[in-house]
């Protein structure tokens, strides 16, 4: 339907766009025509005074826009600004939908009208409002350009429809929708009243009879009570005020450390509850029927440190737990190993132990993977654009900061961050000469060699030292003559050595990094994290080999009845030493360093809180706790106490000794990295170790719930066999168990399905990325259209203005002549 539209002005002659105007611009011809007519009306309604005309300097307006753009060159984005438009063009520009959507009520109401309609249509799935596609730009097709007179009527219609839509939503949807609307309170009140009035729910207090009024008051009172209960619950959220203080003063980077600490605390609480309720409490209630030779030591202090002595035959360790099913009720005498349920409840401790540990690890794995994927989803951006600077400028101001000094500090921080970001973004455009690049590369290689070399040296040192201590222990076991106190104290040697290595080497890595020069502080962060991680992983690897490969395989030579309890004690010692060294590090590292730097080095700024190092320490401690749960079910409790202490200690030390970092720290991305590190090397390593222990290592023969079995796994298998023996219908159970769990084919199959699902998701993400690119291109093209239209409008005005002054001048000349 190519209509030949006749323009009133001779625009056809100087159209510079492609010649087939009919085909290409046909859809807009209607619009342009309307626009011309509207402008006719506007110009006729408000007669132009000569003063107003002279203000619009015709000569400057006539300067062709395209020339100016060519001279600017790369500044092509400034088309619509910095031009001197006529006042009418400006009026049209300012009433463009994309500019009024934020301000005009009508636009907001129409937008929400659309959304409520969509919500009604999708009522069965009830999506949350955040997932709605953004249709924020009312399409120009529907409305045309609204002048004020027509707009008012439109608004009334829209409002009616919005009220109708709101009515048809359910109560909670309606409340959510009303809450999400960025209108002022009085307008929302009006809307709500309209909705409620329509539904004939209007309650006028004066007209209710007295007993309904009483009911009304009761309901209001109940609601008050409910809201105060909700506010009490929200205030209970652990450490919320403390976290807000820290975040407000030190920024989101340091805050992410404390939030990570809180997350770890919750993991440990969960594990403690599971093992506590299912293992510790039943065992504590039922008395153990092993006869113990409890030798009580008198050195109370040393026992807390070493976990041996009094503690070695307590609930803390594996050895205390019985391998026979526990019975309740004193009338039952000690029965045999069979799970006869003839007297009271019987509690099959070996089975429960095995399944509890397995289930705890499995659920922790699921929670970790879920947290990781959620935070990954938040920080990962599908489109490749960086968008750092814009995000920093728009979202970095914290409106909750009140104190003048904090505001000043925040401003200083933002200014440094912006300067650094601008430098970083533009630095990439510089290119160094080849020689300098080679030089820097060689420095980097040297630094890496030094770090890797020192890590290797540490690992070897730990290996040989542990071998020496092992030999020492062997000798002592055979001689029986040494001082028991010294013997206990020597158990602390390896933990102290490893913890001091963990303390000193990161400092060495920092010195090495200071020697190098990096392009950006974020790269430096990643590199220091990876070096520290490598160190900790290798040290833990050597220690695992020491425990599982040396101690567990040959416990008799050490004179150990119960190697699991010994390993549990070792882990307890490591955990405790780690804590003590962290205390010392906080005191010496932060407090004394601050005093030193302020008094001796005379620096004005306090030292900066090293987030990466502290988080890695937390991850290391948590790995130890996870490794030790199998051997010492109460270890999560120890970890909980340690984390609680650590929180308050770090908070106090932070306030006294440190100040906010000037470096940009992308909190969300770093949180994702920390959770990933917690999941992959830490949790996975611990799970692999525990699985290896359960699968292959022979439990000790005289203590613990798995005595006499070939490996811990046999407990489950034995239970299936007993079930099958007791109940002939379940004869397929052991064979099913053998096929499913012991057959590696099943594992391969499940791993294969997993990989296929991951590949599928990555393809989906790729497709979405392509769509985003296409959409961006499309929006750019629309922007070009917009510019074209506006400049065309400007031409119309110029022409009009040139015509009318001539007419007015002629008219005035005529009048002056006559």
């Amino acid at each position: 339907m190519a209509q030949r539209v006749s323009f009133d002005f001779d625009l056809v002659t100087d159209v510079e766009s492609p010649a087939d105007e009919d085909g290409v611009h046909d859809s807009f011809s209607q619009l342009i025509q309307e626009q011309c007519h509207d402008l006719h009306d506007v110009i006729e309604m408000t007669p132009l005074d000569p003063e107003e005309e002279s203000r619009d300097d015709v000569e400057s307006l006539e300067a062709p826009v395209y020339q100016r753009s060519d001279s600017d060159g790369p500044q092509q984005t400034d088309h619509l600004i910095g031009e001197r438009w006529s006042s009418d063009t400006l009026k049209v520009l300012s009433s463009m939908p994309s500019r009024t959507i934020g301000r005009s009520r009508g636009a907001i109401i129409s937008q929400y009208c659309n959304r409520t309609m969509q919500l009604r249509r999708r009522r069965q799935s009830r999506p949350s409002i955040q997932h709605f596609p953004r249709s924020a730009r009312p399409s120009i097709r529907g409305y045309g350009v609204e002048t004020d007179a027509a707009g008012f009527e439109e608004e009334e219609n829209k409002r009616e429809r919005l009220v109708n839509n709101l009515q048809n939503l359910s109560d909670s949807d309606r409340v959510r929708m009303l809450r999400a609307m960025p209108l002022s309170l009085s307008e929302k009140k009006e809307l709500r009243m309209l909705v409620l009035n329509k539904a004939e729910h209007s309650v006028s207090q004066n007209q209710i009879p007295c007993c309904s009024q009483l009911k009304y008051y009761i309901i209001i009172a109940l609601r008050h009570g409910w809201y105060s209960w909700l506010s009490f619950l929200s205030s209970l959220q652990l450490w919320q005020t403390a976290l807000k203080c820290v975040g407000g003063r030190f920024g989101t980077g340091v805050l992410s450390y404390f939030i990570f600490l809180r997350t770890l605390l919750f993991f440990n609480v969960f594990m403690f509850l599971v093992t506590g309720l299912l293992l510790v409490v039943p065992q504590a209630i039922a008395h153990p029927d092993l006869d113990q030779n409890i030798t009580v030591r008198s050195t109370w202090g040393l026992e807390v440190l070493t976990g041996a002595g009094y503690f070695s035959h307590s609930l803390l360790y594996y050895g205390y737990y019985s391998n026979k099913p526990l019975q309740t009720g004193h009338s039952c005498s000690a029965s045999s190993n069979k799970t006869s349920s003839s007297c009271g409840l019987s509690y099959n401790m070996p089975l429960i132990y095995f399944f509890t540990i397995g289930a705890a690890f499995f659920i922790t794995c699921i929670i970790l993977v879920y947290t990781m994927s959620k935070s990954f989803g938040q920080s990962f951006r599908i489109d490749k654009s960086k968008g750092l600077l814009a995000i920093k400028v728009f979202s970095s101001w914290d409106f909750k900061v009140i104190k003048k000094s904090s505001v000043r500090l925040q401003r200083a921080n933002i200014s440094t961050q912006l300067k650094e970001l601008v430098a970083e973004v533009n630095h990439q455009k510089l290119k160094f000469p080849v020689l300098q690049r080679l030089f820097r590369l060689s420095i980097h290689m040297l630094a890496w060699i030094m770090c890797l070399g020192s890590t290797l040296a540490c690992v070897l040192a730990v290996y040989y030292f542990s071998e020496y201590m092992h030999g020492d222990l062997l000798r002592r076991a055979h001689t029986n003559s040494s001082d028991p106190l010294l013997e206990e104290a020597s158990l602390l040697a390896i933990p102290v050595f490893v913890s001091s290595l963990n303390l000193l080497l990161p400092g060495f890595f920092n010195v090495v990094a200071w020697m190098e020069e990096y392009d950006s502080p974020s790269v430096l962060n990643y590199i220091s994290i990876s070096r520290n991680l490598l160190l900790k992983v290798s040290v833990l690897g050597v220690l695992c080999y020491h425990w599982l490969g040396r101690v567990a395989t040959d416990p008799q030579s050490l004179g150990l009845e119960c190697w699991e309890s010994f390993v549990g004690q070792e882990l307890y010692r490591f955990l405790l030493m780690d804590f003590i060294f962290m205390l010392l590090d906080t005191f010496f590292g932060e407090f004394l360093w601050r005093v030193f730097s302020q008094k001796a080095l005379k620096r004005e700024r306090k030292p900066v809180f090293d987030i990466a190092r502290n988080v890695l320490e937390l991850i290391y401690g948590q790995t130890l706790a996870w490794l030790g749960v199998l051997f010492s079910p109460l270890l999560p409790a120890v970890q909980i106490i340690k984390l609680l202490f650590l929180f308050y200690m770090k908070k106090v030390s932070l306030k006294m000794n440190c100040q906010a970092s000037g470096k940009p720290w992308r909190a969300c991305q770093m949180t994702t990295i920390f959770i990933t590190l917690l999941c992959f090397p830490a949790f996975l390593g611990a799970a692999v170790c525990v699985t290896y222990t359960m699968w292959t290592i022979k439990p000790s023969a005289s203590c613990g719930p798995f005595q006499g079995l070939k490996n811990m796994f046999q407990a489950g298998k034995r239970w299936f066999q007993e079930l099958a023996a007791a109940n002939p219908d379940l004869h397929w159970l052991p064979s099913a168990h053998a096929y499913l769990v012991e057959n590696p084919l099943f594992l391969f199959l499940s791993a294969g399905i997993f990989l296929i699902v991951i590949y599928f998701h990555s393809q989906v993400v790729d497709g979405q990325r392509k769509i985003i690119e296409l959409l961006q291109e499309q929006i750019e093209n629309e922007g070009e259209d917009k510019k074209f239209l506006i400049t065309r409008l400007q031409h119309i005005h110029e022409r009009k203005r040139r015509v009318t002054p001539r007419r007015v001048k002629e008219a005035s000349e005529d009048s002056s002549y006559s």
């Binding site: 092509q76 984005t77 400034d78 619509l80 600004i81 300012s94 463009m96 994309s98 500019r99 959507i101 934020g102 409002i129 953004r134 924020a136 809450r179 999400a180 960025p182 002022s184 309170l185 009140k189 709500r192 009243m193 809201y227 105060s228 909700l230 951006r381 654009s385 960086k386 968008g387 750092l388 600077l389 814009a390 995000i391 400028v393 728009f394 979202s395 970095s396 101001w397 409106f399 909750k400 900061v401 009140i402 904090s406 505001v407 401003r411 200083a412 933002i414 200014s415 912006l418 300067k419 601008v422 533009n426 969300c668 961006q776 929006i779 629309e782 922007g783 070009e784 917009k786 510019k787």
Partner: protein, 181 residues
């Protein structure tokens, strides 16, 4: 806490619960507002001038305080005065329960210094000056400012018209998980 001194009529209480989930906060807000009014027992729809609002300790040091008053004011004279409902709007927009939509909407209006519906280069410059402060060592140099603004526009202006409108602003904000108020 503020229950004894609240003079809010009870039916209005149920109306406001569309927005606020904490009734105690509502009472406290009313107390603060009536103190600002100077203890007059006027109807709660009376307005408090901008100067008095700016004496609140929470707003005194905030560089965006004037913009806040202008944005939330519904007065016809455009003088930035707030009545109680505007005050409640202000509080609830900054509470933790406000949705991302509302926060980004109001943030855009606060940053739009010349109220023309988009953030152009002048608005961005004023915004950055507000963020970085007035002293010489925190303020950005002209070259850095120019670089910064062109980078921002490059990153967030999708239709390349030289300004950031509301949709583009919300798009940028939605990609930032650190958007915290």
């Amino acid at each position: 806490m503020g229950g004894t001194s609240s003079k809010l009529p009870k039916d209005l209480l149920s109306e406001y619960q569309v927005r606020l989930t904490h009734v105690m906060c509502l009472f406290r807000a009313h107390k603060i507002f009536s103190e600002l009014q100077g203890g007059e027992n006027g109807p709660y729809s009376s307005r408090v001038s901008m100067q008095k609002i700016l004496t609140l300790p929470e707003l005194k040091a905030n560089p965006f305080r004037k913009r806040l008053c202008h944005v939330f004011s519904t007065s016809d004279m455009k003088d930035g005065s707030l009545n109680f409902e505007d005050f409640l709007d202000l509080l609830s927009a900054f509470s933790d329960t406000a949705t991302l939509e509302i926060k980004s909407h109001y943030a855009f209006r606060i940053f739009d210094f010349d109220d023309d519906g988009t953030l152009d280069a002048r608005d961005l410059e004023k915004l950055v000056n507000c963020l970085t402060g007035e002293t010489d060592d925190t303020r950005l140099t002209a070259e850095e400012m120019r670089q910064l603004i062109s980078n921002i526009l490059e990153e967030s202006d999708i239709d390349k018209d030289g300004t950031v409108n509301l949709s583009e602003f919300q798009h940028v904000i939605s990609r930032s998980p650190d958007f915290v108020r």
